[in-house]
Structures are given as C-alpha cells and as structure tokens.
Symmetry: C2
C-alpha cells in the first residue's frame, strides 16, 4: 500500500521521466507512454497485489511418522529474482509488487527505452518500502542501459540470484534461455490453437474463434491457428471467415476449397503472428487435432469448442499445454482472469510453475522436521 | 508389480551380468556387487513403489470464476526424464519404478562399471512393462559406455528431454549442472550441520550428534560440522568427543581448548567428508550458528538440538535449507524416512522440488479450464 501511495505521490517526477523516454524513443510509443490515468492504473494494480492473500502463511502439508517425527512442508520465498523486461514501464511496479508480496527480493533490468520511467518508478517504490519499514534493497534496479549488465545478471551473481524471468520479445527470451546460469521462468512464444470439433455449437464456435483471434492480437494467449473438423468445415468455415472480416486467413488446401483464403505454408503452423492473421487447417478429428498441436504448439494455451463432453475431456486430458480450455476463448490465458490478481509473466516450461506466474508461483517450500530426540536406526 | 516379478524371474541373468561387471571393476566393489539378497531387496523396493498412492489422481485445486469459468489445477507427469548415475545397479530399478509410477518416461545412463548389471536389470524391467501392457519405450537405457552419450543427453535430445537427474560423485553432478541444456534436479553435496543450543538436553545432544555423524558416514545427510553454543561447550564437548570415539575431530581454537582435537582450517567448513571426520565450531548463539550455516551450508539438511522452543522455531524459520530439523538426526534426510516410499535423489536447488524427490515430486501440473462459451471482454 505504501508503494502504491508513493507512486501517486511521485506522479509528476514519473511523468516527466517518461516524457524524456518518449522523446528518445524510436518505436513502441504507445506501450511506453504514461499519463495520469495509466499511472493511477499502475498504483491500483500494486494495491490489488497488496490485497492478495499472503502465499507464505500456508502450511502445504503436515504429517507424523511412525517414529514420532512431525514433518511439515512449508512455503518459503524463492529468494532473489532477476527480471529482464522491455519497454512497458508498468512492469517495474507490477513485478516489484508481486515479488514483495511473495517475500522475494527483485533485481529489475528495464529495457533502455523505458529506463528513465523505470528509474523514477523504482524511486517511488523504494520510498514506499522505506515508509513501510521494509529494506529498500528488496527492490533494486540496474541504473544503466549498459548491455553488459544483462550478461552479468544471466551469470547468476555468484550464486546470489535464484531465478530469472524474461519478459519481452523473442530475441530477448531466447538469449536469456540460452545464456542464463540460473533457472528461467518464461515463455518464448504462444502459438495457441482453437480446435472446432464437429459437435461444436455453430454460434459458440464463431464467437469463440473471433474473440480468441481478434480481441487483442498482440497478447500471447491470442489464437494463431484454427483447427476445424472436416465434418464441420463446410458449414462453419464460411461463417467464421465472415465473422473475422479484416483478419487474413491462411489455409490448407481443403480449407481454401471451402472459403477463399491465402495459402498456408509449413512456416505458418509455427508462427506466432501477434497480428490479424489466422492459419486454418482442416483435420479428420480429435486425434489429428491433438497431433497437430503436439507437433506445432508451444505448450501455452489450446482450446476445444465442442458439445460432445467425451471428446472435450479427451482433448483436455491429452493436450499437454500449460492451459487447456473447453468452450472458452484462449484470450483468458492470463493471471488476472485466473483470479491470481496479478502475474509477472506466463511460463511454458514444465518445471516449478506453468501458466500464469503470480505471487504463489514465486514461492518454493522447505521441510520442517520436529522431533523429540529421534536417531536413525 | 510385473517389473518386480520380472527382476525375480531374471535373477540368474542379472547376477551373471553383475559378475562380469565385478570382474572388470577397479573399485567400489561393495556398491557394485549384487547377490540374491540384494536382488530380492531391489524387487521388493519396486513393489513398494507400486504400492504408493498414484500421484496423478489428485486434482490440486479447483475454483470457479465470476464469469462461470471452472478452473482446475491438475497433476501431470513431467515427461521424459534423463537419469545419469554411477556404480550402484539398484538405481536402475529404483529410478525406473519411480518414473513409471509417476507417469514419466525415463532414459537411463548407467555408469560404465555397472553397465552389464544395469542392462540386465533393464531387460527385466522391459519384460515387466510388456507383461503389464505398457510401452517398453517408457524405460530406455543407453546401451553403451561411450562417454559422448552423456553429452548428447545433456543437450536435451532436441527438446525431447524435460529433466535430468544426476546421481553420483561431485564431478558428475558438477558437469551435469554446468552443461545441461534442460533443467536439472539434484544436489552437489551435503555439508550438513548439527547445532547444539545451550538449552539442549545433554544426553539427547550426545545421541543425536553421534547418530548424525556416524550412523553412516557416506550418506549425503550425514552431519559434517558440529556447531555448539559457547555456554554449553565446556559441559558437552567432552561428552560428545568421548561418544564419537574413532571419529576425527577438527576444531576452532575455542573447541580445541576444551577438548583436544586437530585444527580446523577454512577449507574444513566447506568440506563434505563422507568419512568419520567432524569439524567443530563454538558459536556465541543462534545468530552466529545461522550465519555460519548461511555462509558454509549447501542447503541440504541442518538440525538444532534445543529444549528452548522459541530458539528452535527461530532456527527452523531462518535456516534456508531443503530440510531443517529440531531434536532429530540429520540422517533422517531421506525419502523413505519422510514416508515418500522411495526417492530418486535429493534436490538442493530452490525450484520445483527441494529435499527428497519421490514420485509426487516428479509431476508438474496444468490448468484445465471448462467454459460454456465464454469470450473475453
């Protein structure tokens, strides 16, 4: 709460720092720009994180052994988290709030274009920590745009860094994943699929595909590929094509024979467009859809639209992605929509955390064993 | 159960393969050697794993969002696990059983000295899988001692490998941790501490220190350093020294002024002896003990012996190791002793799993979202 208050109190300094960033920026102007409304949104988001339940108060499990040893599994913070991000200044406040909420320390590495804004936001956050009697060292920022700093962070700071979270474009995430000497939580890309089963309700299928693709095309949960059952394609594909007006469709030969569209190449099945483009493929049924996802998916989010519950449950069970959905838009792939209150990113790796990473996912555990003098035989 | 039965059925072939390994071995004879009793123990251990609860049957959490989306967090296997281990042939059966129990596939890389034994055990396991109608490809073994195979495994098999677990000497674990392109669960070493608080019951302190150090000196949960409160040292150190007869003590000047012992060097505080050697240091109290552990510990297991509950709870809270214990021997640091039934190793990293890694720790989760046509506003 003190961090949020400090952001509001330092609004003028933050906005003037942001104006300097905007003056120097070459692109991404809208993501970079702050105004009073966005600043208020940033402060409110920090307050929302403060209002989340304390993830550290929970005892995950506790049991007694036949020899009387009392064993508890308790949540603890991960430790020191390095956050490497691009452009959006609000990530500075979000990431710091989520880490403080979960008892972690954070070292922020802002993209150079947003550095002045990030430094000004960081000053406010530090002031808030001080007001609350917490150590300001819990939230640190690398004060320079020097590119070597990223390499030093990726090296793990001689064991002091426990986790790195990259958030930004593909080249950033690739570099971090390749070079980091400490564990990384993040996602390279979200090639998300929506599969329309032959049993799908036509209106629902059209509404979900349109929303999954077009609500916001630039988010990682946006659908990039539509898979549609051969049996339903002649009926539904024209309706979907019409509902997605303004969106470029790129299809396999069968889809193109039903609705006029551009030709999809092999590369299309692997592409995260983040743009109003949708690749379309006709499949024989569930197995072929699941096979396509296994081959081309990135483990982020996939949805099935179906009235047939058995088919839907098989899809949910067999598709191996962080989030699998039935009769819902893939655009729900977001910590806020999951009820986590906030997310520091989305993870598509298989270990520790998958999907939206909120305060709870930024904890680990230890075992606490209480005895009465037991020795082992 | 079928895997265990096949081990028993193929006892002759396994023992004869083991005899070939023994004939070629240059060292580690006892760890390498199999006999009928050890083989029966191996089969029984596999049966014990079969009897463990199915970790995949559990729904970890389920909640409904205000928009009606039904979100479940469900356990799923991690995927394909690479296991790189040295010498002990029983690891072949243990690791395979734990992975099959948790729905994972495993690729085994046996140390060359035990390769013939491991291949024979693997044949039995494959036969068991086939008998049970499971795919034999779920348990694979690298059939050669070729050292390049390790490098290929560490490379991640073009994304097919999800996790590597090394189990063996320090140089093996160091190499795996350094070179692996996929996540690693394991521990480099266990420099475990037992801290005798001034409030400790003398008899309990002596019994726990003796057990923690000497029950088995070669296990990673063996205590390597004794920390003892200045206020208790003159009374307790002579008793502990006497109880640890045959164990070499290496102390700081204050300990040596109380009980005759060798001089500890800076290197001693960092050494995992795995031998009847104990480093001994006198501390001013809780803070100094915790500081010593933070500086020299390896995050494995630390214990406090104390009657003072407040001091004990502070130790349990502040010491940041996978396992922290009060009035119990550090030799309890073991999946079997924790009630996990079996362990594939002990992890001292901070992510995904800490402490004993059993079938449950070899799972991850995904989110299953069930809707009724929801689209995002």
């Amino acid at each position: 709460m003190a961090m949020a208050a400090a952001i509001r109190r330092r609004a003028e300094a933050i906005l003037s720092a942001n104006a300097r960033d905007m003056a120097g920026a070459t692109a991404h102007h809208d993501r970079l720009r702050l105004d009073e409304e966005r600043l208020e949104g940033m402060a409110a988001a920090v307050e929302a994180v403060a209002g989340l339940p304390d993830p550290l108060s929970e005892e995950l499990a506790r049991w007694e052994r036949p020899n009387g040893l009392d064993i508890a599994r308790v949540r603890v913070p991960i430790g020191v988290i390095g956050m490497i991000y691009e452009s959006r200044p609000n990530v500075t406040a979000d990431a710091a709030a989520i880490c403080v909420r979960s008892g972690n320390a954070i070292i922020l590495r802002s993209g150079s274009e947003a550095l002045q804004s990030s430094l000004a936001i960081h000053s406010a956050l530090a002031e808030g920590l001080e007001d609350a009697g917490l150590p300001t060292a819990a939230v640190q920022i690398i004060p320079t745009a020097d590119r070597d700093a990223v390499g030093i962070l990726l090296g793990g700071l001689d064991g002091a860094l426990d986790l790195i979270i990259p958030r930004g474009g593909r080249s950033l995430v690739e570099r971090v994943s390749r070079d980091a000497r400490v564990p990384v939580l993040g996602h390279l890309e979200g090639v998300c699929h929506t599969y329309v089963h032959k049993s799908a309700d036509p209106d629902m299928a059209v509404a979900i595909v349109r929303n999954a693709k077009l609500r916001r095309v630039s988010v990682c949960g946006a659908t990039e590929t539509l898979l549609i059952d051969r049996a339903a394609a002649p009926r539904l594909l024209p309706l979907i094509g019409k509902a997605l007006e303004g969106c470029e469709l790129r299809g396999d030969p069968e889809s193109r024979s039903i609705t006029p569209m551009a030709k999809a190449t092999e590369a299309d099945w692997r592409t995260e467009y983040l743009a109003p483009v949708l690749s379309v493929r006709t499949v024989a049924g569930l197995n072929e859809a699941i096979g396509h996802i296994a081959r081309y998916g990135t483990g982020h989010t996939e949805a099935i639209v179906a009235s047939d519950e058995t088919a839907a449950e098989e899809f949910l069970n067999r598709v191996d992605s962080a989030m699998v959905m039935w009769n819902a838009s893939t655009q729900f792939a977001d910590g806020g929509e999951f009820g986590f209150g906030a997310e520091i990113g989305i993870a598509t790796g298989r270990l520790h955390a998958r999907g939206p990473v909120g305060p709870e996912q930024l904890t680990t555990f230890k075992y606490v064993v209480r005895g009465t003098g037991q020795t082992r035989a």
